[in-house]
């Protein structure tokens, strides 16, 4: 029985490891990433091999070469004290990098450890750590560094250590958020139930997730540390006995009028290193995101705009059916992918909705039913487009209408009821304003008139206290109420066709029954046509006059509901009916189980 359940697996292990292709390798293949890494490697090599690259002493002042120009003795010239600029630059790289590294290491250590503990165990430690983090972030770091400098004196290592502590919230917040996210993942629960210890869970499931973000953050923090260290030296508050980029900048700034060229070397070193670090971090993040969006389900991709598959089985309509209000013909929809690929999700759908009928569009996930619904509204997500076919609504082909023309049709002629009630209301505006605004725009009525209508609509869709709901925000109402509000919005401009995309799927079954009653009542009162997308045959049986069964971007069978339910002809339709459990036999009692039946009194 299981064979048919298995999608054929493309051949074996090689692909599995390719999917996990090393992030670093991909980083090197990315031009920007490679350039950034090369710059960083060169900077580090310059610091390490400073003594090999120059024989000059970075601190040796030579009165004979004050502000010496670029020449054989001094490849980059000499500064106001006659010190060799190249030597100072190379040795300066040592100190500047080491200082930044110290700060980054301290910040990362404190932040990561605290973040892991706070995120995983939470409770009191989390409150304290989060509070401390916001305390550390409350004051500008430079002010605290100045204060520390006032009492601790001009030690770069000390300053950088303090700075590391000040920057630890950057890591703390990152790790904390990631850990809280992961610890609520079901696979962490599954690991706990499997008896895996906390340390093992942190190491295996949690650290793996935060590792790359930590590297990204470290690169950023490193850049900030270089800047702040240079800033302190530039202010003349650093340790002037060691060569650093900041000290060079400070010296050069004081001689800006005589030798502006001296400013260039340390500035270039700081800017180049910082930009390389940021670019490294950005590319790593981009690659990480790309790896993450590696796609869950695979949908077949074909050439642009092809209609394929055998024609749908169409059951004859009852005589005397109304004229169509919507006729979709050979609709092909797909998404443009980077690399010029076109991923087709609707492969030539044809369907007709008649005036005043409720038409069900049923299919399993990935069948393209929602994509079809969005295409009719011309509201496909970014990258999606109609590649072929026509969508004729009341004599007008919607597929060729301009956005401006569509704005006049949407709401007033065709409207939409979405699937997930809570995410389809703008959280920042009151429910009332979201009902009023479209009416004012689409119908050109006054706000007062629109409000009056909105209140009566809210009452019509069965909301117990319309006034209160009108001035509520979406998060203050339940899912069922929100769906009623969305239904009110959909019929507010008296459209001819309502497209309802799984309007009851996100709701509890008792609420679903109420919403179905509401839709039926509205349809009867307003005489509106409804195209309802669903995966539930019960919903179709309850509400629809006609139904189209969709599979892999095609309609396989369509016809009047009673006809099709009585005599499903397509094998796919039949397999769907077979999978329905409602009518199946109960499992029955276990041999030795108790047959006691208990009913709770009171709760109704």
């Amino acid at each position: 029985m299981t064979e048919s359940a298995i999608v054929p697996l493309p051949d074996a292990a090689a692909e599995g490891s390719a999917a996990r292709a090393h992030l670093m390798r991909r980083l090197l293949r990315n031009g920007t990433g490679l350039a950034a890494i090369i710059v960083l490697v060169l900077v580090v090599l310059g610091a390490i091999f400073a003594p090999l690259l120059t024989h000059a002493d970075p601190n040796k002042a030579d009165l004979n070469s004050l502000l010496a120009p670029i020449g054989p003795g001094h490849p980059l010239g000499a500064d106001a004290a006659g010190r060799d600029v190249l030597a100072r630059l190379l040795y300066g790289t040592r100190f500047s990098l080491a200082g930044a590294l110290l700060a980054t290491a301290i910040a990362a250590f404190i932040g990561v450890v605290a973040g892991l503990i706070a995120g995983y165990y939470q409770r009191w430690f989390e409150s304290i750590a989060s509070w401390a983090a916001s305390l550390l972030m409350a004051l500008p770091a430079i002010v605290i560094l100045l204060a520390a400098r006032a009492v601790l004196g001009p030690s770069m290592w000390m300053s950088m250590a303090v700075f590391g502590v000040l920057l630890s919230p950057a890591f703390y917040r990152l790790v904390y958020t990631a850990v809280v996210g992961v610890r609520n993942e079901l696979y962490v629960d599954a690991a706990r139930v499997a008896g895996v210890g906390d340390a093992s869970i942190i190491g295996r499931h949690i650290l793996a997730v935060v590792r790359a973000p930590i590297i990204i953050q470290a690169a950023m923090v490193m850049g900030i540390s270089i800047a702040i260290e240079a800033g302190l030296d530039f202010l003349g508050l650093g340790d002037s006995s060691i060569p650093t980029w900041g000290n060079m900048l400070n010296d050069a700034f004081s001689k800006m009028y005589q030798a502006p060229v001296l400013l260039i070397w340390p500035s270039a070193a700081i800017a180049l290193t910082s930009v390389a670090l940021v670019l490294f971090a950005n590319t790593l993040r981009d690659e990480l995101e790309r790896a993450g969006s590696g796609g869950r389900a695979k949908v077949q991709s074909t050439a642009t705009g092809t209609v394929f598959g055998e024609p749908a089985i169409v059951h004859a309509d009852e005589p005397g059916s109304a004229a169509p209000i919507l006729a979709v013909h050979d609709l092909v929809v797909g998404y443009d992918r980077p690399g010029g690929e076109f991923k087709q999700v609707v492969n030539g759908v044809s369907l007709t909705v008649r005036r005043g009928e409720v038409h069900g569009l049923i299919g399993e996930s990935g069948s393209g039913k929602t994509q079809t619904a969005w295409s009719i509204l011309r509201l496909l997500p970014e990258g999606g487009r109609i590649a072929a076919g026509t969508i004729v609504f009341d004599g007008v082909d919607l597929s060729t209408q301009s956005e401006k023309q569509l704005c006049r049709i949407r709401g007033r002629r065709i409207s939409y009821i979405p699937q997930e009630p809570m995410s389809n209301l703008d959280p920042s505006f009151t429910i009332g304003s979201q009902l009023v605004e479209p009416m004012v725009v689409a119908l050109g009525i006054s706000r007062a008139e629109a409000k009056r209508r909105a209140l009566s609509l809210l009452a019509r869709v069965g909301i117990p206290s319309p006034e209160r709901t009108f001035s509520s925000y979406p998060h203050e109402v339940s899912g069922g109420m929100a769906q009623r509000v969305l239904i009110a919005g959909a019929v507010s401009c008296e459209p001819d066709l309502v497209i309802a995309d799984e309007p009851t799927t996100a709701l509890d079954v008792t609420v679903q029954a109420e919403i179905l009653d509401l839709l039926r009542g509205l349809q009867r009162d307003l005489g509106v046509s409804i195209l309802i997308v669903t995966h539930n045959f019960g919903v179709v049986a309850d509400l629809c006059d006609r139904v189209s069964v969709m599979r892999e971007g095609r309609i396989v069978e369509s016809g009047p509901v009673r006809e099709l339910f009585r005599d499903p002809r397509h094998p796919y339709t039949r397999s769907l009916f077979d999978a329905i459990l409602e009518d199946g036999a109960a499992r029955g009692a276990l041999a030795h189980s108790s047959d006691r039946h208990t009913v709770k009194e009171g709760a109704r």
Binding site: D189, G195, V509, A541, E582, G588, A603
Partner: protein, 286 residues
Amino acid sequence: MTEPLLEVKDLVVEYPVKGYRRKPFRALKGVSLDVQPGECVGLVGESGSGKTTLGRAVLGLAPVTGGEVRFKGRDIGHLSRGQRRGLASEIQVVFQDPYSSLNPSLTIEQSLTEPLRVRKVAAVEASKRVRALLDQVGLPTGAAQRLPREFSGGQRQRIAIARALALSPDLIVCDEPVSALDLSTQARVLELFKEIQESTGVAYLFVSHDLAVVRHLSHRVAVMYQGEIVEFGDGDKVTSDPEHPYTQRLLLAAPVADPDRQEQRRADRHRLLAAQTQLEEQTRVA
């Protein structure tokens, strides 16, 4: 009657509510239930009814505030994390969401051997066990080296079942394991659950919002509503001829896939609602 495998008595679970001196949220208000060895007990209810919380309390993932959870006669409601780990080979879980219940960066083999490694099973042995498990849930052995994202929802749920079976537990808590699946996939995965129960004798506490699913698989069914079990008894009886008003509403609310019978059911539902409202008003007056 034998001793129950799992016995939940007057279980209370409360979650703290953020904010100073707020009353905690009481997710379970004194719930009692038992599961016999080899039995499937269905737990049905709507969102917020507490059905998932009950499952999580049995798994040790929800805080037990009052009452007890007994497994093979031993109270497991207040175990430390360490003690809890010992139960891993006896109580296992299959979660609802086939996407987040497997770590996306671990191969199937790594996920499946996780419980075995904790038990210090040798690598070769574990590998062999993984192959047997995959076979048991109807997946090819080649699946072991792949990542979760290469599988469909139904296949992932099979993998999750394989992981639950790895330590040959006596009880598996199934938290809406087929709710995210398509109709036809759902039917096949339910068949798999049944097969496995018949061949291994494992017991299920099967949580679902769908009365039809629960009816299909459960020997007995408990109905939850607002943190309480309102009706508990024979699966067929509860799901076709319930006594509690809420169960009756629940049963009639689910639309049947037959236009004529659904019309009938709709009328029945409206009658029932009218009768219940009337009764409620009478009791209020009285």
